[in-house]
Symmetry: C2
Subunit: 456 residues, 2 copies
């Protein structure tokens, strides 16, 4: 149990890294193997990601082939790319033989096009090679791109005893048996069984008699996100994948879905913060600039728009200069309200719980924004009145604030709903996009209404 | 297969809702049962969530007890609360008998304190009752709060054949057998087995000989989020839970972890958008106001701060009024850069891939912000110069912009790292918190630097 305790509480310490480095320097392969053997392959990958590349490559070549392939899968994408560059097509093919077909296809798809064929033709097992070739043809964001070919399949005509005997061979190749899929002689999926059902059943029963006919499945072309939704909703741990003829072609397991959900959540979070393109804190400054600069540029254009509006109103408000000092407040409130309402809608759309008509949704947001705006405007009115000793100006500013908040809320609600109807990912509507458009519109509206109230 | 196809492609249409409503009105129980029987309990819950409460309650009482309990688990929290209010303690206890212990404990914990004991004492099965009582004692955000008591446990001294015989009984109560946990005579967890291992093994082998000793587990007091991280990292579908004596006390399955991950992602997303307290698009205006107003109020205070700063600089910049027209731009850029850098850090912290020293991190962000700031400042310089025909003013504005962007980036990087070190959730540092503090600081810095350059 000692090992295990370390396993689950694995801590990547500087001491550990230094120990590994000094063992590499002294070429102490025996010690290294003993040390790394203690760790889960996901932990070894974490260690490797911290080492200099030369040291990491040394360890990769030292580990046995099965561990290496698992570690490769867990390495950061950048490091994996570098490692693969330093391995021959034959060496990569050997690693790939150890992996399940879905992981194998993922790794091959990361290689440059010209190396892909070379690596595939070096795979010795004919079946494995053909299965990987098949998987590479699917879009990576589809069910086909997620599925593995490894599964346990039985024919409806088999008996329980015969079935148990024959699946022993199949099961050895499948890491985890979630369900046993039942097909008819045309390979069409017609039901499922659990190992438990099989163990509990009597030896002479026919599979057709004990199979559950009610089996959830997805089509090989279904969107990965939709597959994730279905599996999360129905608490499925594996789902079979069929082609357009209903023939069983693969299986998707929940661990892949956990990755899809995490990636999706991270993408949306970054979009809301004005970052595109799946970057991480440890990416290079150039990569981070590419992900961040476009949104900042949008903000710059919005700021220039606000400047032009304010300059246009300069003459009109010559005696009410104080109005200009509230433009950052107006812009901030318009931005915040817009982001709040769009975030709620984007999240609701993702969870399929935005129901009812668009009009009802807009009326609700209007009431909500009006309530929030009114409360905030009263505070602002009292403050400006007390500070400037001028009721009319403070009234003009506060009434404008309410109007700006209502319009910002409506825009924040409407834009994601509109994008979603058009089939565009509404998540791009949060963050800088909403804040920038609301900044400009809010300031314009603010001066218009103030002008009206002050009778200029 | 017809049923299944509908299952997976379930669409909640108005026609379906109307059909159900009209069947309820005409008390056509037979038709209703036939209709609802077609659907998965998660789909029935979606239908019920759309009905008037009276109609939903009618259906709840119509469905058989096993379906009702499953549907109850999937209902929205508000509706479940209302339904439970309308059921007697005895009726609730009957539903709870049908549920796994973890779901049962979740439902009971949602009841008002005074009803909890009443419901528990109405549970007829003694073992189920005691197990639920035990689960209710754990913090809901701990491993104990997530785990179920249902699991398959074998003793190391059993043989494969004896084991198969005995686990048939245990397995019937467990919906999904992921692993069979091996304990010694003190109930301490010492290994695991898969059903597959058992089937592949020879009948006369001892469990101790075929069990895998390397079993991942968590402590009953571990944080739910940490459990989720461990299960996602090691691709586990179930993990055993032990108490402080290493005794096996429960099991957590991946479907519960999927829920933890989804909730966590939604909470972070809302925090970044300035929304606290787990609200949904369909919550009441009062609930939504309570979640949104505090952050808006923070924005208001920030805006008032910006106003006071600008008024303070009013005299100094009497001949450079144009500077005031760029404050929304400065505030927007400071806010955007701050949110971008804090989002990257918050996400990196969540994924444990922010390594190295805080200083290196700040130096990197400074370089990144300087690069982005420089590019943006050149555009702004050219625009203001061309528009205002005044090089010195445009230089002052642009240089200030670079400084503001660098400081905003540093603050966005530093605050989440600082909060994390202090054990505070860094996610609260994104969104309005960062934008508001950066707005004020950015505008202050902007005027200071402009003053310096213009020699006022």
């Amino acid at each position: 149990m000692e090992d295990t305790q370390e396993n689950i509480q694995f801590q990547l310490t500087n001491e550990l890294i230094e120990k590994v480095e000094s063992l590499v320097v002294s070429n102490n392969n025996k010690e290294l193997k003993l040390l790394l053997n203690e760790f889960h392959h996901a932990d070894i990958a974490e260690i490797l990601d911290e080492l200099d590349f030369e040291d990491a490559l040394y360890l990769i070549k030292l580990l046995d082939s099965e561990t290496t392939s698992d570690v490769l899968m867990e390495l950061s994408e950048d490091n994996r790319e570098k490692v693969l560059k330093n391995l021959s097509a034959k060496e990569i093919a050997e690693e790939i033989e150890e992996l399940d077909t879905d992981d194998a296809a993922d790794i091959i798809s990361e290689l440059p096009e010209n190396r892909q064929d070379e690596v595939i033709s070096n795979i010795e097992d004919d079946e494995h090679r053909e299965e990987i070739r098949e998987l590479l043809e699917y879009n990576e964001d589809s069910a086909g791109g997620l599925m593995a070919k490894e599964l346990v399949k039985v024919y409806e005509t088999w008996t329980v005893a015969g079935c148990l005997r024959r699946i022993r061979a199949q099961a050895k190749e499948v890491t985890r048996v979630h369900s046993i899929y039942v097909v008819n002689k045309e390979e069409k999926l017609i039901g499922r069984l659990s190992l438990k059902d099989l163990i509990v059943a009597k030896n002479e029963q026919k599979i057709a008699d004990i199979a559950k006919e009610n089996v959830d499945y997805v089509n090989v072309n279904d969107d990965a996100e939709d597959v994730a939704k279905v599996m999360a909703k129905y608490d499925l741990e594996a789902i079979p994948v069929v082609d357009n003829n209903q023939a069983l072609v693969g299986r998707i397991t929940i661990d892949d879905i956990v990755d899809v959900l995490k990636e999706e959540a991270e993408k949306d979070y970054q979009l809301a913060a004005g970052i595109t393109g799946d970057v991480e804190a440890d990416d290079s400054i150039i990569e981070l600039t590419r992900a961040r600069l476009p949104w900042l540029f949008l903000g710059l254009v919005g700021g220039v728009g606000a400047f032009i509006i304010m300059e246009g109103f300069q003459k009109a408000f010559d005696t009410y200069k104080v109005l200009f000092f509230f433009t950052p407040l107006i812009a901030a409130m318009a931005g915040n309200v817009g982001v709040q309402s769009s975030a709620i809608i984007v999240q609701g759309l993702a969870n399929d719980d935005v129901k009812g008509s668009v009009n009802n949704r807009l009326i609700k947001e209007m009431l909500l924004a009006a309530l929030n705006g009114l409360i905030l405007a009263i505070f602002l009115l009292l403050f400006v009145w007390a500070w400037e000793q001028d009721f009319r100006t403070s009234l003009a500013i506060s009434v404008s604030l309410v109007a700006v908040i209502i319009v910002a809320g409506l825009i924040g609600t409407f834009i994601p709903l509109f994008l979603d109807k058009r089939g565009i990912d509404p998540a791009i509507a949060t963050g800088p996009f909403i804040t920038t458009s609301n900044d400009i519109l809010g300031i314009l509206l603010y001066f218009w209404i103030a002008k009206l109230i002050l009778g200029i």
